[in-house]
């Protein structure tokens, strides 16, 4: 658990961070969002003491970080930045091994851990371990950046716009990969971003900041349904809120049984039982947003649903999707 209490940082009389209090439970990912210059990075960097607060306190599991040795504190907290900051003169394996080495792990254990992380981040060890950072694409480099931060299995990870410099497709893939790893390993994450979509996708909670203050802290759904008037509403953009709400849920909960013969399977394709035309089904894990977009495109009011093996398990009604997006 990370607790920020009345955290304030003053630069030349200006409060870059102003009286911020947050309590982040173990295993959750909290997104810190806001426009550029609102104090997100400053808040984040006070947690691992890269910046000393002007006032207020930070506790990790009840221990005041100001009482800890800064190096020891940082060795126990992963840190990922947009610039990645891989060491250009060290191989990928050596980069990932940085913190374990600083912690004095045995060689064998380090090698095992590096291998494990390379697998976890879909970087074949045989191909990548001995390469140098410049030989990797931006997306691969940032995978290594995250792997390096997770190397010593820190319970806490601080991320400052980690995927901000990547192209949309690579970013989406990394976001999904990271979300899975974070949930599976129950890492507590403070994630700074100015990208609302990213915050909604990854955040268990979203803290919206403006001019050094935290204005609202909410789950993505509640933030969309009950945003504070003013900055928060403007920043999250209410025009898209239905789409965003639909992105938060998967179709799985809306699947209901279909009448026998309503859908037919033929050579892996799904056919409409009445018209005989092929239709694209929804699959497990598809978001309601994807289903909605297909319903509109096909100008229909029902879609077949298949399981992971591609067999029809039921159908999804448009009305049920619409219900999710309404107030």
């Amino acid at each position: 658990m990370i607790t920020l209490q009345n955290l304030t940082k003053i630069y030349g009389g200006v409060k870059a961070v102003n009286d911020v209090s947050l309590t982040i439970p173990d295993g959750e990912l909290w997104a810190l969002v806001g426009t550029s210059g609102c104090g997100k990075s400053t808040t984040l960097r006070m947690v691992n003491r890269l910046i000393e607060p002007s006032s207020g306190s930070i506790q990790i599991d009840g221990v005041d970080v100001m009482a800890m040795n800064p190096q020891a504190l940082r060795l126990g907290i992963g840190y990922v930045i947009q610039g990645i900051g891989l060491f250009p003169h060290r191989t990928i394996a050596e980069n990932i091994a940085t913190v374990p080495r600083l912690l004095g792990w045995k060689r064998g254990r380090i090698a095992e851990r590096v291998d494990e992380l390379l697998h976890l981040f879909s970087l074949a060890p045989g191909e990548f371990a001995r390469k140098y950072p410049h030989q990797l694409s931006g997306g691969q480099q940032q995978r290594v950046g995250v792997a390096r931060a997770l190397a010593a299995e820190p319970p806490i990870l601080l991320m400052d716009e980690p995927f901000g410099a990547l192209d949309p497709i690579t970013r989406a893939r990394l976001q999904m990969e990271f979300a899975q790893i974070q949930k599976r390993q129950k890492i507590t994450v403070i994630f700074v971003t100015h990208d609302m979509d990213e915050a909604f996708l990854l955040g268990d909670r979203i803290a919206v900041m403006d001019k050094g203050r935290v204005l609202q802290v909410e789950t993505p759904e509640n933030l969309l349904r009950r945003p504070q008037p003013g900055f928060v509403s403007d920043f999250i953009g209410l025009d898209d809120r239905v789409i965003r709400l639909l992105s938060l849920r998967t179709v799985d909960e809306a699947v209901r049984p279909a009448a026998p013969g309503r859908w037919r399977e033929a050579d892996g394709a799904i056919l409409d039982g009445t018209t005989g035309k092929p239709v694209a089904p929804v699959r497990p894990g598809d978001t309601m947003r994807e289903a909605a977009s297909r319903i509109i495109w096909e100008n229909t009011d029902v879609l077949p649903a298949v399981d992971a093996g591609g067999h029809v398990v039921g159908e999804v009604l448009a009305s049920q999707i619409w219900a999710q997006g309404s107030r």
Partner: protein, 398 residues
């Protein structure tokens, strides 16, 4: 075409490629002109009488002269026309050895026991051909991108061959080698002192310059003061700086006569070393600053966030990554001081400059050459070695 037969079988001879190689053509022209058109050696009946120039083919020993000329041109032609850079370098290197040997042997045919006072010095043809062949070798080696260790080995090999030829005595009748024999004690002392001046100024310059450079990197205010001051030293002509230092030291010694007891005198090596150190500071400081500036701040920041201490960041990241640029500064200083140390002879600091200035005073060009030749060789060797070192420590994989 005859030259066609000399080229690599895999890569057919191409007139176009040949014509595009402007540098190669120019070098070849130098070799050809030097061996055919210009006097290769100059014969003086004695030190006073003016000399007679001999082109290679005009030598009394027709076979030696014409043979040498043909061999040299053949080496130049092969080096120019083969496509393989390794063969180019090899052919030109053989040419260099042949050049030195033919000059030595030709000198011995001109000097006969009945003319004990006669001197044979190297003529313009020799020097031009030397220049052409030398360029052919370097050009080929540069394109080959030879690995650092191999480059060092090649330099050592070249020096060994040169010293072997000079030491074997074949070249004893060349006037420069005669000059060496009469002055050989002076020569080795001068060479020794020259190295002492260079090393003795480099070490304190590093001890002062590296920390200053780091400081200048960290603080813009330090940088603002430091760079202009060092620039002043750098732009002061060496003679002037030596003069000023003589005056300053003389003043200091007048105030504290005890200084002379620890070996500090107004003239000699003390002001020379001080001047060389001052000249070294700017390149070392600016390259140190540039080296550290080139290190990605995001990387250092990430390292700090991961828990690396200041010391770990400095020694594991910043210094290794800045080292190639810093060493480039050291290379500049080394080559610069090898040259400047020659001027230091004027204020009695010793070194190879002593021979050069004495030779100029006596209009004995061979003595000048005896001083200047090794200075050039030292500078060349330092350049190659330092460049190899820079590449070897370039841990930033590209």
């Amino acid at each position: 075409m005859i030259v066609g037969a000399l080229t690599h079988p895999g890569a057919p001879f191409s007139m176009n490629r040949l014509l595009r190689d402007r540098v190669g053509l120019l070098c070849f022209a130098f070799v050809a002109i030097g061996t055919v058109a210009l006097p290769f050696l100059a014969f003086q009946p004695n030190r006073i009488l003016s000399g007679v120039g001999y082109r290679l083919w005009q030598l009394p020993d027709m076979w030696l002269g014409a043979g040498s000329a043909l061999l040299l041109i053949a080496c130049g032609t092969v080096s120019l026309t083969v496509p393989d850079q390794r063969l180019k370098a090899l052919a030109a290197s053989v040419g260099l050895v042949a050049l030195l040997l033919s000059a030595s042997l030709a000198a011995s045919t001109l000097i006969t026991p009945d003319k004990p006072l006669a001197r044979v010095s190297l003529g313009s043809g020799f020097w031009i051909a030397l220049f052409g062949l030398g360029l052919l070798v370097t050009n080929a080696l540069v394109r080959l991108r030879v690995r650092p260790l191999v480059r060092i080995a090649l330099v050592v090999l070249a020096l060994a061959i040169l010293l072997g030829i000079l030491g074997s005595g074949v070249a004893r009748n060349l006037s420069i080698m005669r000059e060496y024999r009469t002055n050989h004690d002076v020569f080795w002392t001068a060479l020794g002192w020259h190295l002492v001046l260079v090393a003795g100024s480099l070490i304190p310059a590093l001890a002062i310059g590296l920390p200053l450079g780091r400081l200048g990197f960290q603080s813009r205010r330090v940088r603002r003061v430091l760079i202009p001051v060092l620039n002043i030293f750098q732009t002061t002509p060496s003679i002037a700086l030596f003069g000023i230092l003589i005056a300053v030291l003389a003043g200091l010694i007048a105030a504290w006569p005890g200084l002379t007891r620890i070996g500090i005198h107004g003239i000699g090596s003390a002001p020379a070393l001080i001047a060389l150190v001052l000249y070294s500071l700017l390149p070392i400081v600016t390259n140190t600053i540039a080296g550290f500036t080139g290190v990605d701040p995001a990387m250092v920041e990430a390292a700090r966030g991961m828990g690396m201490t200041r010391r770990q960041r400095l020694f594991q990241l910043e210094i290794p990554l800045a080292l190639p640029v810093i060493l480039t500064g050291v290379r500049i200083v080394l080559v610069q001081n090898i040259g400047l140390a020659a001027v230091a002879a004027l204020i009695g600091a010793g070194g190879l400059g002593t021979l050069v200035f004495r030779g100029m005073g006596q209009t004995a060009m061979d003595l000048v050459l005896l001083g200047a030749g090794p200075i050039i060789i030292l500078a060349l060797v330092a350049t190659v070695l330092m460049d190899a070192l820079v590449d070897a420590v370039d841990s930033r994989k590209r």
